[in-house]
Amino acid sequence: MKPAPFDYRAPASVEETLPLLELDTAVLAGGQSLVPLLNLRLARPEVVVDINGLAELDYLRADGGPLRIGAMTRQVTLERSEPVRRGWPLLHKAVRLVGHRQIRSRGTVGGSVAHADPAAELPAALLALDATLHMRSTGGARRVAASEFFLGPLYTAREPDELLVEIEVPGQPDGAGAGFAEYARTHGDFATAGAAAVVGPGGHAGIALFGAGPVPVRSEAADQALASGAGAREAAELAAREVEGEHRRALCTELARRAIEEAMA
């Protein structure tokens, strides 16, 4: 369990990083997913670009508008942020279930998003919150909605020469509630499945499932049903109706119901 040989670069800024990004580069953020993949030789990049020196990407900003999360913000920072807990409680609830405390102290928000594990908590929460992902390359800047970003297991809309720099989460309507539920074999293990829900006044609803397929999924049918007054059970069934596998579907339905009820409580 030692990585195959690779070249190592540790740029000091985003400007220095962008020219280094190519097809066979891997970006090292918190390393909680990449390093095990390297050690198992499942990932064999030619170059590892370590962005831990990019202090400029370590920030949380919420000045009355949307929440802006620098890609290098550690998960523990998000977990402990009081403005996040108050303004975006779904993120607070989701991040607490990412791995173990030791993992969250190193793991980054951007890393979790860019890695795109189908069982990951943060991508589903960001999908439910209609987040936008900001990327930069030597060619310029680009923004992609969370709903367009996750394309498959460990596969996203990010091009090899792009760096995820910021996650933007719109402000939540007053009175919006959040619910998050997951099932994992053991505490801190990868989730088998889970659900994230935000429900607010005026028909605002966002339900996302994870561990339910190759990417986190948002159910418009469930969102609309909730907006038009459906109960949690009915909305949960709609949210999970496309999930493959009888037990996984049952699990997703139950977890969605719990998340929605928690959001409505």
Partner: protein, 699 residues
């Protein structure tokens, strides 16, 4: 009650003394295998088979890579231990594969380099020409038998023909990975001038490694020195010598270079021998009053591609315990150990006993449901009440109070069943009797110049707390404090030849040897003391020594476990609400450490129930080669465990001790499985009790 101890309690024996080794361990003062760096040592990585079954056409080593294959080594296959009253085949594990590989992960070649990372790089470049063959993955479908055992006692046919009821049940337990915190490893260095091979190995004792090395390398034992450093857990998996250890030692001899192999987690998962992997069909014949007339059992064991030295032992233990705690003198039990294309199995905490308890106790619960008798009442009608008791299969249970254990378990667990719209609840019990101890163990005691006593033990710790319990025993016999006793273990040139730490035998066997050695030393001291104190005697008679070799038949611990579980209807999620462990391990030397053993064993038993399974895909590839594929319980999943002891002294050793190290792993699966079946209204489901399996069983 029978709680009289064989040894009158001294000041320390029977007291919950805290482990005195922990201070050193917690401060990082330990020296594990990987902490040892010999100057000039090369690092070893193994080229392992990616196929479950293949013929090897040839091995090509690119220039510049130092690789060693079977052709380069002058070694025998690993030896195979036989089983009493049965047969084993000559399928000893080769050190490195010859022209065939029989499991994915089997060592094919070894590469030497200046670091482990470079060795792994080089190992990738060794080209092995494999011709894949069809793997056999199901023991029942294998046509190669590697171990066989069959015993019939009494008129079994007659008993089944005349029975008022016959109950049949089939059950299986999946393979489990032992997962010690410290993986395996070995370091070897050859001093040609002295003709001495020194081998450091992470193992359960030094002398079995020594015997294995001497046999495989064809060297006299006195030309090999085995040193066991601190060991970070084993659970059985470091008992038998590993093929990799043999390869490292043989290559150190062949190259003259010190070599180090410290395996990683992935290797430990795929190449360390596993536990369980048995299935059984059990039939019980009952008379009209619910008395068991006869037991009939057919057991199939998935032994893997080769026989490790101890692979067949657990199958024999399972077979011998198939009458459990019940008074039945008519039995027909057979075990078929089959070759499959998986890593070999071997002793893993419980080592055949959890299988026996699970197969028999689950069948007893099936019988209770079919006969309409309460499962506890059915057990009480059949328990052995008078001991010693010679079983139909040939072992003699030395002591125990099975009824008392069951009564206590029932009282403590507070049975509960039923449920509501959200969940179902059930209660189950599992009883066990287990072999412990046996063979011999050794110790030497020596008076040091400062008046302290040095005890060298043939038994060797890897987490059990020998340094504390053995010191308690020695200090009490000598009338001194714990600090006046120093223990040494694990060096084949220093400690007397011992048997080792396995089969819950350390206190009963090693502890008895310690007190005999200390008693003999005390006599010698008294003979020269002429009224003087120990320190004064020491000043004049330092180096006074006495040795002991303690031998005994097997002793039999026993117990009753109770569990209350809840299953969520919507998801199938299982929660263990209460777990009670009542164990009779005879005299308890240190209740704190004994309880720790029970809780640890229970956690492993629960892991088996909830999440653990070393599963292979259809091609025989392990799907469990990391902690992503193989899950272990965390503290969060552990219910509070109530552990109580019933102490019936064994008549077979001066302590009255039996064994406690494996109890939790033995009693837990049967109790939880019976609780799950109770909650499900009798559905037969085998571990691991995943949410999906239970959800389907709920319908």
């Amino acid at each position: 009650m029978g709680t009289e101890a064989g040894l009158s309690a001294g000041r320390l024996v029977g007291r919950p003394v805290r482990r005195r080794e922990d201070d050193r361990i917690l401060r990082g003062g330990t020296r594990y295998l990987d902490d040892i760096d010999l100057p000039g040592a090369a690092h070893v990585a193994f080229v392992r088979s990616p196929f479950a079954h293949a013929r090897i056409g040839g091995i090509e080593v690119p220039d510049g890579i130092a690789a060693i294959t079977a052709a380069d080594l002058d070694v025998s296959d690993l030896p195979v231990q036989g089983i009493e009253g049965g047969e084993v085949s000559a399928d000893g594990h080769p050190v490195l594969a010859g022209d065939e590989v029989r499991y994915a992960g089997q060592p094919v070649a070894m590469v030497l380099a200046e670091s482990r990372a470079l060795a792994e790089d080089a190992a990738e470049l060794v080209e092995v020409d494999y011709e894949p063959l069809d793997p056999v993955l199901d023991a029942r479908r294998s046509d190669v038998t590697m171990s066989r055992w069959h015993r019939v006692s009494g008129d079994v046919e007659g008993a089944f023909e005349s029975a008022a009821h016959v109950v049949r049940a089939s059950h299986s337990l999946p393979r489990l990975a032992p997962v010690p915190m410290e993986p395996r490893g070995a370091i070897a260095s050859f001093d040609a001038a002295e003709d001495l091979l020194t081998v450091w190995v992470s193992a359960q004792d030094s002398h079995r490694q020594l015997a294995g090395l001497a046999r495989v390398l064809g060297r006299p034992e006195d030309s090999i020195h085995v040193i066991v450093p601190d060991v970070g857990g084993a659970f059985g998996s470091k008992g038998a010598p590993a093929p990799e250890t043999m390869a490292v030692a043989a290559a150190a001899l062949a190259t003259g270079r010190p070599l180090k192999w410290a395996e990683d987690r992935e290797e430990n998962f795929v190449a360390s021998y596993q536990g369980r992997g048995m299935e059984a069909e059990v039939e019980l014949a009952f008379d009209g009053d619910g008395r068991i007339l006869a037991v009939r059992a057919r057991i199939w064991a998935d032994l893997g591609g080769y026989l490790m030295p101890t692979t067949a032992i657990p199958t024999h233990t399972t077979a011998m315990l198939m009458c459990g705690v019940y008074d039945v003198q008519t039995a027909d039990v057979q075990v078929h150990g089959r070759r499959t294309n998986k890593v070999p199995t071997g002793p893993y905490r419980g080592a055949g006993r959890p299988e026996a308890a699970y197969f028999l106790e689950c069948t007893v619960d099936v019988a209770a449901r079919e006969l309409g008798i309460d499962p506890l009442e059915l057990r009480r009608r059949n328990l052995i009440r008078e001991l010693p008791y010679k079983t139909a299969l040939g072992w003699t249970y030395d002591s125990g109070d099975y009824a008392r254990c069951l009564d206590l378990a029932e009282e403590l667990v507070r049975p509960e069943r039923g449920g509501d719209a959200e969940r179902v609840v059930g209660t189950g019990f599992g009883m066990y009797v287990e072999r412990a101890g046996g063979q011999f163990e050794t110790a030497e005691a020596e008076l040091l110049r400062d008046g302290r006593v040095l005890v060298r033990s043939g038994s060797s710790p890897h987490g059990q707390g020998h340094d504390t319990t053995f010191a308690q025993l020695a200090a009490d016999r000598l009338g001194v404090t714990l600090e006046d006793v120093e223990l040494r273990f694990g060096d084949s040139k220093e400690v007397p030849r011992g048997v080792g730490t396995f089969a819950s035998r350390s206190v009963a066997m090693g502890g008895s040897a310690v007190i005999q050695a200390v008693d003999a030393l005390k006599e010698k001291i008294e003979a020269v003391a002429a009224g003087r104190g120990l320190r004064e005697v020491a000043a004049r008679h330092a180096g006074l020594r006495a040795a002991a070799r303690f031998e005994s038949d097997l002793v039999f611990s026993s117990g009753a476990y109770g569990a209350v579980v809840e299953i969520e209807r919507s998801t199938g999620r299982l929660t263990v609400l209460r777990l009670v462990a009542v164990d009779d391990a005879g005299t308890i030397v240190n209740p704190l450490l004994a309880e720790g053993q029970v809780i640890g064993g229970t956690a492993q038993g629960l892991g088996q129930c909830l999440v653990e399974e070393a599963a292979y895909d259809d091609e025989g590839n392990p799907t469990f080669a990391s902690f992503v594929g193989y899950s272990l319980l965390t503290a969060a999943e552990m219910p509070g465990v109530i552990a109580e002891f019933v102490e019936t002294a064994s008549p077979l050793n001066p302590l009255g001790a039996k064994g406690i190290g494996e109890a939790g792993a033995i009693g837990t699966p049967a109790a939880v499985a019976n609780a799950v079946a109770d909650a499900l209204g009798g559905a037969g489901v085998d571990p691991p009790f995943t949410a999906e399996k239970l959800w389907r069983a709920l319908g």
